[in-house]
């Protein structure tokens, strides 16, 4: 029963997606084309963020923490 309700819910969500993006008016093969393109784009975005976002976040954190730590020692760094 829950599977049926979940499937119904998913069906309704897909219908909403069709209506909101305006895909509802297109022919089925055009819908498939759009879905493929959108899915590919979203997949690429997720993959890129998975690969690069932790690295970028780590580097950013390091940069900012260095700034904070360096303040009392800045005169030392200059003389070096």
């Amino acid at each position: 029963m829950e599977m049926k309700k979940m499937r119904e819910n998913l069906g309704w969500l897909y219908y909403q997606y069709l209506l909101i993006t305006g895909i509802y008016v297109l022919e089925p093969w055009e819908q498939s084309v759009f879905n493929t393109v959108l899915f590919t784009t979203v997949a690429m975005v997720i993959y890129t963020s998975y690969v690069f976002v932790p690295v970028h976040v780590r580097l950013a954190l390091e940069f900012f923490s260095e700034l904070v730590r360096e303040q009392p020692e800045s005169t030392v760094a200059l003389m070096n």
Binding site: Q16, L19, I20, T21, G22, I23, Y24, V25, L26, F34
Partner: protein, 555 residues
């Protein structure tokens, strides 16, 4: 009888007239045209509410709706270009008209946006319009079922009919689109007497006695001196405005005027200036400017200034601000042309139109125009005014000179409808219908507002536009309503602004409460399923007011 309905708000003078004379005779004389009484708008006899106009509501949708609408249109337009590319390459057959090979080097015929829109957007959802009807357009009707095998380029009828579809789209405000034999006896009589064809124009040999009778009745119904009837409502506007104004005159027309008014104004050759919809400051500014500066180069004064407005605007459902316009007209000595196509018979306590609704003397409006198509269930239009004006039109209007006169059965239908509304035929059927329409309108509008839909227009207008906004939802809404056996009219881009697609309901006096309840229930379910309840003023959910009484504590 009419006098016994105390609580029905009406213009105070009508009630005092009823006190003096018999109720049945009231309709033979138009009691509210004693000039001194009519100006007391709102200062009733103490036991009537003042005639408050009620504000038009034009609630705006939340911002994300506009964004999604543009996004939806953008995606579909992109796909439109893609399909055009496929057709140009030759991968796909072009079903629409195409230029021949020899014409390809000349100016392209089908490249403008209108053709693009028709090919790529309208065709996809075309099955929601032009549905073939096979019964009379009463409160319920029958549709012929049709399917399309190639995505709406061609249709074929399956042979089945969809029966008893509730009709929420026909302009049948007082329910005169009926085929009841008793009511139509006089129409059959007249057909036997005069035949159906007229075979001439009004000026030549087409002026039948029944036409004169009709015009007398129309003038009496409206309370004007004289009236003239024409065969086609659109032609009444477009052919008579050129006879009234010409070069050297100024027309101030509302932003949202109907095409017939715009066409008539353009044909006349007068200068046209547009003021914002129902905006009196904009109109006054234009009037002041017109009077101070005069005509463009010579600065002579304008020969005539004509303000063109409509009683009810059919796409918005808003009412004109008549008292303010009349005050402005008197102050600046302009003329007023009021097009009561939708409001005659549909507003006002006894169905006389917006002049009665606001308690204004109809003689203050210079040219009162209306159509018989909507509330009277016939075809044609009329212009009413002072006798000199109408006599001038009889001689100089293009429609009178060249158009065939109205067909006699149609004329008789209008006469019987007018008699019914005025109560002259001895029944109270007409008044009952007018009251029923007002009640239905109030009921439908208040329930729609409570459910959380965005509905435009004035609370008294029987034209109810329900906003859908997104292009995908427009098609889905219409199809889903048809599946539930309710026929609605949805309107999209060229007729409305691109972000404001809507479904337009026309309430009828012939709708019973059960029909309206069924429609409201379907709208409720569909509104939740499709998600078109955008209003931010939604009241908290209340239990059913008219229906079963559930005394549940959770609501």
């Amino acid at each position: 009888m009419m006098g016994t309905d105390e609580h029905y708000p009406r213009n105070g003078t009508l009630k005092s007239h009823c006190d003096q004379k018999q109720q049945e005779n009231n309709s033979l004389k138009n009691g509210y045209h004693k000039n001194e009484k009519v100006q007391k708008n709102g200062m009733g006899n103490g036991f009537h509410q003042p005639r408050v106009r009620g504000e038009d509501s034009f609630e705006e949708a939340p911002m994300y709706v506009a964004v999604l609408t543009y996004m939806g249109y953008g995606i579909v337009i992109l796909f439109g270009y893609f399909r055009d590319l496929l057709r140009a390459i030759g991968l796909e057959k072009c079903h629409q008209a195409q230029e021949r090979e020899e014409q390809k080097d000349f100016v392209p015929l089908y490249q403008d946006f209108e053709n693009f829109y028709t090919r790529n957007l309208y065709m996809r959802v075309r099955d929601n319009w032009n549905r073939p009807i096979c019964s009379l357009p009463g409160p319920v009707f029958d549709l012929m079922e049709r399917v399309s095998d190639d995505n709406n380029w061609t249709f074929r009828l399956t042979g089945r009919t969809i029966e008893n579809v509730i009709n929420m789209g026909s302009y049948n405000y007082l329910g005169f689109a009926e085929n009841n034999v008793d009511f139509l006896k006089t129409v059959a009589e007249v057909t036997r007497q005069y035949g159906v064809g007229v075979c001439s124009t009004r000026q030549e040999l087409g002026n039948f006695s029944i036409h004169e009778k009709l015009e007398r009745h129309v003038a009496e119904f409206l309370g004007m001196e004289s009236a003239m009837a024409f065969g086609m409502g659109f032609a009444t506007n477009s052919m008579n405005i050129p006879a009234l104004v010409g070069k050297g005159c100024l027309i101030l027309s509302d932003e949202l005027n109907h095409t017939s008014l715009i066409l008539g104004a353009r044909l006349s050759g007068a200068t046209i200036r547009v003021f914002k919809h129902n905006n009196m400051q904009s109109l006054e500014k234009l009037l002041k400017e017109a009077i101070c500066s005069g005509q463009p180069r010579t600065h002579r004064s304008w020969k005539k200034i004509l303000i063109m407005v409509e009683g009810i605007y059919s796409m918005e459902g808003s009412l004109v601000r008549l008292p303010e316009i009349i005050a402005l007209k008197k102050k600046y000595k302009a003329y007023l042309y009021l097009d009561e196509a939708h409001s005659i018979g549909a507003v006002g306590p006894t169905g006389r139109g917006v002049t009665e609704h606001f308690g204004v003397d109809p003689n203050e409006v210079d040219v009162l125009m209306g159509t018989f198509t909507k509330s009277f269930g016939a075809a044609g239009g009329y212009i009413a005014g002072k006798k000199e004006l109408v006599d001038y039109l009889r001689a100089h209007s293009h429609s009178a000179m060249y158009a065939t006169a109205m067909s006699p059965p149609v004329v008789e239908q209008i006469i019987r409808a007018i008699k019914c509304i005025m109560g002259v035929d001895g029944t109270t059927e007409g008044q009952r219908r007018v009251r029923q329409l007002a009640e239905n309108t109030r009921y439908l509008r208040s329930r729609l507002k409570d459910m959380g839909f965005i509905v435009y227009g004035n609370q008294d207008s029987p034209v109810v536009p329900l906003l859908l906004y997104l292009p995908g939802k427009v098609g889905a809404f219409s199809r889903a309503m048809l599946k539930r056996k309710i026929g609605v009219v949805v309107v999209g881009f060229p007729a409305t602004p691109i972000t404001e697609a809507r479904a337009r309901f026309c309430v009828s006096a012939a709708h019973t409460k059960e029909m309206l309840d069924k429609v409201l229930q379907s709208l409720d379910e569909l509104g939740d399923y499709i998600r078109v309840k955008f209003s931010r003023h939604r009241l908290s959910h209340r239990p059913e007011l008219d229906g079963e009484t559930d005394f549940e504590l959770d609501s």
